[in-house]
Symmetry: C2
DNA sequence: AAATAATTTAACCAGATGGTCAAATGTACA
DNA sequence: TGTACATTTGACCATCTGGTTAAATTATTT
């Protein structure tokens, strides 16, 4: 279940992912997906019964392309600061390759919050582990205490929002696409530095 | 131009803002707006010729409800750290009162990037001023240098994303709506502290 | 090569959706 | 009161959209 065997099925699926992630469920048209795939609209329904079913597959695929790698970093035994650095650069790399993913996931999730819950329930990040690392580092005086919630949300925010806000950013600060890419790359260093700097205890 | 005189016009407009900000342009239905306003669908077109026109008014209104206050803070002569604190708490207050605004603006902007450019062109924030403040503070050794772009994007990110990601956050960390509100309130202190901490030069 | 099954298509359908219009209702004013 | 004007509505229309179906085409099996 969930596998793609035929060649055309693969083509259709990629087309669907492209259109859905760019336009969202409501903005996407089955006809547009068919055109993008270069096939007849009826073929969409032959392979993926309905728009809902096709969308569902796409959404799961997008989650599967991002979450597992991030969760495995979170759940690793890596030291706290390394974890922050690795998480950031991995997440930024993923989104650099698929800039629409961030906006897509958050937007569709607000349309149907239950969607992610399933994915998270079956293999969520082990927040207890991260919590322990924070407590240890705070106990030893290495860092100032910060609740896990805020630390995680801070990382997500600093990483994901620039992609969602790309048009705003490129409008505010005159930027060509290459400049925006460079700007994002700078953040692979800047974001973890900033997070670490903000919690590291001052001498 | 752009004013609302009649009582029903006001009711319709509020209904439209509610529906559009929650569902987006593509997800919104004229019938739903009419129902929300408790009037006939034809009346929508009587007051606001088309869905596009109505949406445009709503979008402009939302921008006008947020941007000017933020811009005036940015353009004020307030000291850098105060500016960061005031900007954050004002922005969070605005979004707390209208949690859908953030996702709405960013999503619709990626559908039509030109929309904001107009609003920004006529009265954008004076980034040169902020830049000077950064340079001064960096020159005097008070802070570590940071490009304006990153500083501004960092603030936007830490403030706006939690609202966009609300369902994700409430799913990851078991949170009831009240808890989420409290979580957001905590950030009015935490975010500026974090930003300032991350740039303040260490002794 | 014939028969069977899988893939692909053109044509079509039903319901939804943005939009129109003529009639009805209400309001102000002479 | 009657008349001009604005407001509101129900009914209707054209188009779009997801989905179906029967036929055509291609691949597979015997």
């Amino acid at each position: 279940m969930g596998t793609i065997d035929s060649k055309t099925e693969e083509i259709i699926f990629r087309a669907a992912r492209k259109v859905f992630t760019r336009k969202g469920f409501d903005g996407a048209r089955m006809q547009e997906i068919a055109d993008e795939a270069g096939i007849n609209k009826a073929l969409l329904h032959y392979y993926f019964r309905s728009k809902d079913k096709l969308f569902d597959r796409v959404f799961r695929d997008v989650v599967k392309m991002t979450l597992p790698r991030l969760i495995s970093i979170m759940n690793s035994e890596m030291p706290l600061f390394d974890k922050i650095r690795t998480f950031t650069s991995t997440y930024i790399d993923i989104l650099s390759g698929n800039p629409e993913f961030a906006g897509f996931v958050f937007h569709e999730l607000s349309r149907n919050p239950n969607r992610l819950l399933e994915s998270l329930k079956e293999s969520g990040p082990n927040l207890r582990l991260l919590e322990n690392q924070i407590n240890e580092a705070a106990g030893s005086g290495e860092i100032e205490y910060i609740p896990v919630t805020h630390l995680v949300v801070n990382m997500m925010s600093l990483i994901a929002l620039p992609f969602i806000a790309q048009p705003v950013i490129m409008g505010m600060f005159p930027m060509k696409p290459e400049n925006f890419d460079a700007f994002i790359q700078e953040r692979k260093e800047l974001v973890p530095q900033m997070i670490i700097n903000s919690i590291k205890r001052r001498p």
